[in-house]
Amino acid sequence: MFAHVDINNCYVSCETLFQPQLKGRVVVVLSNNDGCVIARSNEAKAIGIKMADAEFVVRKVLEEHNAVIFSSNYALYADMSARMMNNLARYTYMLMVYSIDEAFMALGNISGLDLEKHAKMVSHNVMRDTGLSITLGVGPTLALAKLANKSAKKLGRDYLVLDTEELIANTVKTFPIEDVWGIGRAYYTKLQELNIKTAEDFRQLKPELVRQHMTVQGWRLHQELWGKPCNVIKDVAERSKGIESSQSFNNYQTELEKIEEATAMHSATIALKLRQQKSMAMLLTVYIRTNKHNVKHDQHYPSITVKVPFATNSTQEITKICVQALRAIWQPGYNYLKTGIRATGIIPAGEVQYNIFSNYDNSKQQMLSGVMDEINARYGRGALRVAAEGYEKTWKMKQDFLSKQYTTCWKDIIVTR
């Protein structure tokens, strides 16, 4: 048996926990640079605000409903998410963190365990202890656990257990196929042609037919909806295949120097992420972009991929390479709005191949990075950084509606009366 747990309106819940007066109001959280809506309270959903709506498009509606707007406070969300996951881990022998607000839990096959009671207890305790409201779905497979979670939300419940074929059959009968985990737009269009409207319609398809129309993923989903587990819980995150760090500027940048600073900052982020997952990158892609929505401006979206001589995760090396790469693609006269770096060709740090003819020695870089990480862990991120990152950061992202860092910054803790 598996459980799928997610935090309801995660980012909004994190904000309202510390500002309870906002409960019951239209609340939205905006993405980086206050670009578009990425989290909505139930009240915001009710007035028709959609996920990824651009802020300037819905601004008027939000104003009319006296909405409360937040910039993304990732320090807060990441801390609250970690608290949630640590809490969930107490109720399972294996937890698979699926995203910042979602996780799967293995519940095993303990005979005599009343799943209904167990789900109720977990849901109640976790909500009390973290202060965030969650929904919990239980089923014999990951797909059914996720389906149970969605059904619970539709029913306005905190949890739903689908542990018998009878309960499953009853639920899938009315469950829209487009809401099933793994059914994207392409599959949905295909299934519509076959007149498949509900999860039950899909279940009634013959396995051979599913195989024929969809890939093995579709077949697995079909099996899972019949309660036959195909996907397994992995408790060790796979090494990511690519790491990206990018950000829009708060206004147009024409000077190379400012874009270099941003590039250096992204380099540091990428290098740190690589070191955290004990890997190194062989390819680095640097790109810059103008604003495609601004038709008055000349457009320029150059990008360049550099193969580094020796796979690296050193901040100094990555910064040096990326800043050089940026200089190669930057051109004067354009109004750049965004820059980013992508690291690919990622290999475990232990498997780096050195060239027999070179006297390259990365142990010095390794030690330097190690010291840097230690200092930054103690005095806060960015306390020690490469000078190329600059000091003023006038290009920093736009966060006009940022709330406080209630759980990660002493200066920001709440003062009670």
């Binding site: 809490n87 202890d129 202060g131 003062v415 009670t416 009366r417």
Partner: protein, 144 residues
Amino acid sequence: MLRIKKQAAKRDVLGFRLPMLTHEEPTLDITDITIIDADNTFFMRMGSEAMTGYQIGEDHVLVIDRTLTPVTGSIVVFFHEGYFYTREYRPEKNKLVLKANTPAESIIIEDIQSWTCFGVVTLTLNPVIQPQHRVGRYSFVCAC
């Protein structure tokens, strides 16, 4: 949340190994007895003199545990009419009294169902360091 602040010197010994190393135990860590459930502990600061009778002065740091259910006499943090408050939990027959030094500062909740507790205060930190010591890294003592 908890970071190791200490830096241990290297003690690789070339000659004889120090005999006490085999008996080494981790040194006392104040968080062992102050923060019991780190994942569910929050910090706030007392911003008024309303609870001085409970030895909670202004600027004391509050350690708040959400896993505990308040009992009579607990010091609780809760949200009420736009603000967070720290008060003593005193349930009575048909109402909930959230007591402070004086009745004027106490809060009475008639509709008990509508009240939610943010957490139970397990401990308060009272900085007693003298101003002339508040320099360098000592300026961080309960500073927030």
